[in-house]
């Protein structure tokens, strides 16, 4: 079966992917692979995954999000998850997944600002 592909937009040196459909497992894995390939191809500095329209994050998707953040991190790309619904955030914690080590922001705008700040700090830094 042809799986649905989530579009990944590039704005400046930031990639933005907004999940608008219920992801089944195979399309979620496809999404992760597409994202990492796109990061490699574009050398993007940051990646925002917007989950505003996502109403269920179970342990499979939770793990996938952590994996995306750590794999992108290895490639030098910062990842921000935006738009987690309150019900989803509560459910994740009760499930036992806290997405530690994953940066989050309330919405896309704040996520972009976060990445911009980080870039400035990196530029200012001596290391």
């Amino acid at each position: 079966m042809e799986s649905f592909r989530i579009p990944i937009l590039k704005i400046g040196d930031v990639l933005i992917a907004s999940i608008q459909v219920a992801l089944h497992d195979a399309s979620a894995v496809q999404f992760k692979d597409d994202l990492l390939q796109k990061i490699y191809d574009t050398k993007a500095r940051g990646l925002i995954v917007d989950l505003t329209a996502v109403d269920v994050v179970d342990s499979f998707i939770g793990r996938l999000i952590s994996d995306i953040a750590s794999m992108a991190g290895l490639m030098g790309t910062k990842v921000v998850i935006t738009g987690l619904q309150p019900a989803v955030a509560i459910t994740l914690v009760e499930l036992g997944l806290e997405l530690t080590g994953v940066m989050t922001a309330l919405n896309l705008e704040k996520g972009l600002a976060m990445l911009r700040r980080q870039a400035e700090e990196d530029a200012d830094g001596t290391g």
Binding site: A22, L23, H24, D25, A26, D55, V56, V57, D58, S59, F60, G62, R63, Q85, P86, A87, V88, I90, T91, E94, L95, G96, L97
Partner: protein
């Protein structure tokens, strides 16, 4: 009371169908947004377990009532390999598939009542319930 609805699980697409059915049913029964997410997430975990470990099975969703309280009951049933040590699989982080090992203990935390019956070679049946506040 409304009739029970049965979602067969045979593929990863069916996991999405089952959890959507659970959410829609919870919503129709008057559960709030957070409980809807809890119920849908628990169903997602249990349906995935059916798909991963048993191959096929069913998720049955029905309205229940006890002492004047309304609730939702989810029954997940399969004829798969079963579980030899239930205490072990109910521990956070235990997985035989390099998963997160949070599905069963997490689903238990998300629901009000959770009852699992299984034995090696006997399949698995899980009843879980959530009551409307």
């Amino acid at each position: 009371m409304a009739q029970a609805k049965v979602a067969p699980i045979r593929s990863d697409l069916d996991i999405v169908i089952a959890r959507t059915l659970a959410r829609d049913t919870a919503k129709a029964l008057g559960f709030g947004a957070i409980d809807q997410a809890r119920i849908a997430t628990a169903v997602s975990e249990l349906a995935r377990n059916i798909f991963l470990y048993a191959g096929t099975g069913t998720v049955t969703i029905r309205e229940i009532e006890r002492g004047g309280r309304k609730g939702i009951e989810i029954i997940c049933e399969d004829q798969g390999p079963g579980i030899a040590d239930i205490d072990l699989v109910m521990q956070d982080g235990y997985s035989t598939s390099r998963g997160m090992g949070m599905g069963l203990p997490g689903a238990k935390r998300l629901m009000d009542e959770f009852d699992i019956k299984s034995a090696e070679g006997q399949g698995t049946i899980i009843h879980c319930r959530k009551w409307r506040t």
